[in-house]
């Protein structure tokens, strides 16, 4: 497991890119990315270290609250082939 530094801005950008790839409305995507990155930041700040898998799990669970499709594509983008 690799520890990583969390970047809120990177996460927002990733969510917006994934949202665009599944044709989510830009305004809705921006709202989701703001809310999810805020929520993830709060959770990450409570942890002393975080791995890539931890972050992926937290982000996926937050995304699921707003869009199942977006959560799915975020979780599975490295698992297509």
């Amino acid at each position: 497991m690799k520890e990583l530094d969390f970047s809120k801005e990177n996460l927002k950008a990733e969510i917006l890119k994934d949202a665009k790839s599944i044709n989510l409305a830009p305004g809705f995507a921006a709202t989701i990315s703001d809310k999810v990155s805020d929520a993830v930041e709060q959770k990450v700040n409570k942890l002393s270290t975080i791995t890539k898998n931890d972050l992926e799990r937290i982000v996926t669970s937050e995304l699921k609250k707003y869009s199942a499709d977006l959560a799915y594509i975020y979780h599975n983008r490295d698992k297509i082939i």
Binding site: K20, S21, D69, I73, N76, K79, I80
Partner: protein, 234 residues
């Protein structure tokens, strides 16, 4: 009657080839990477270039196999020993399809070297021009050659058994069948489906795809044994 058997072998080989999943997976990666940075019109041309790349390498592969077989054996069929070896490979690939080709769990990851999967993913991510998309198609189809080369050789041998006039049609038909899943995916996305819908379908039907793809290899092997080795009359 011999022509019917040859066409049957070409059809079965192409169908088994079409069920290999690396091309489709790479196409979805390209869609995902392209849709999040380009307008959809640009994505469409990239995807068309990708499909052309796959078609080109399959066409070149089968044409090269035809040329090689014709150069070595002339108008004669493959020697029965070589055909038996190819049938053995076909049965082995069927076992691979049923056991390790698809990873276990809720994923559509495939049994290919991790370095190859990562390379294809990273290339899909940075593909911006039609030439790059075409090359990605070439790469995706080429990476699957270890599983498809026996099919291509078997189909090429059957193409050579046909009349000169229908050989080109058989070659184009083989390539068309191999490209069908990619073309259908492109049409589905054009009709409003997203890559999530397609990926979910692939995940939900993974067992079905595994069974059918393995079964197609077995049917091809049995067909070859019956009509090319034993010589059952039609």
């Amino acid at each position: 009657m011999s022509d019917i058997i040859s066409v049957g072998i070409i059809f079965l080989s192409a169908l088994a080839h079409a069920f290999l999943q690396l091309g489709l997976g790479s196409l979805l990666l390209l869609y995902h990477a392209s849709l999040n940075k380009h307008v959809s019109k640009k994505t469409k041309t990239l995807v068309s270039s990708f499909i052309s790349g796959v078609g080109m390498i399959v066409l070149l592969g089968i044409a090269a196999a035809c040329y090689a077989l014709y150069s070595i054996f002339g108008d004669n069929n493959l020697p029965i020993e070589l055909l038996a070896a190819l049938i053995g490979i076909v049965f082995s690939v069927a076992i691979i399809m049923w056991t390790i080709y698809y990873h276990r769990g809720k994923t559509t990851e495939l049994w290919i070297p991790k370095a190859v999967a990562k390379f294809i993913s990273s290339r899909a991510e940075v593909t911006n021009s039609n030439t790059e998309a075409f090359s990605l198609g070439l790469l995706a189809a080429f990476a699957e050659f270890p599983l498809s080369f026996a099919l291509i050789l078997i189909a090429a041998n059957s193409v050579l058994e046909l009349n000169y006039t229908v050989r080109n049609i058989a070659l184009v038909g083989y390539v068309f069948i191999v490209l069908l899943p990619l073309i259908i995916t492109r049409l589905c996305i054009r009709k409003g489906k997203t890559i999530v819908d397609i990926q979910r379908w692939r995940e939900a039907n993974k067992t079905f795809l595994r069974i059918i793809s393995g079964l197609l290899f077995v049917v091809l092997g049995v067909f070859l044994i019956a009509y090319r080795i034993i010589g059952v009359p039609l």
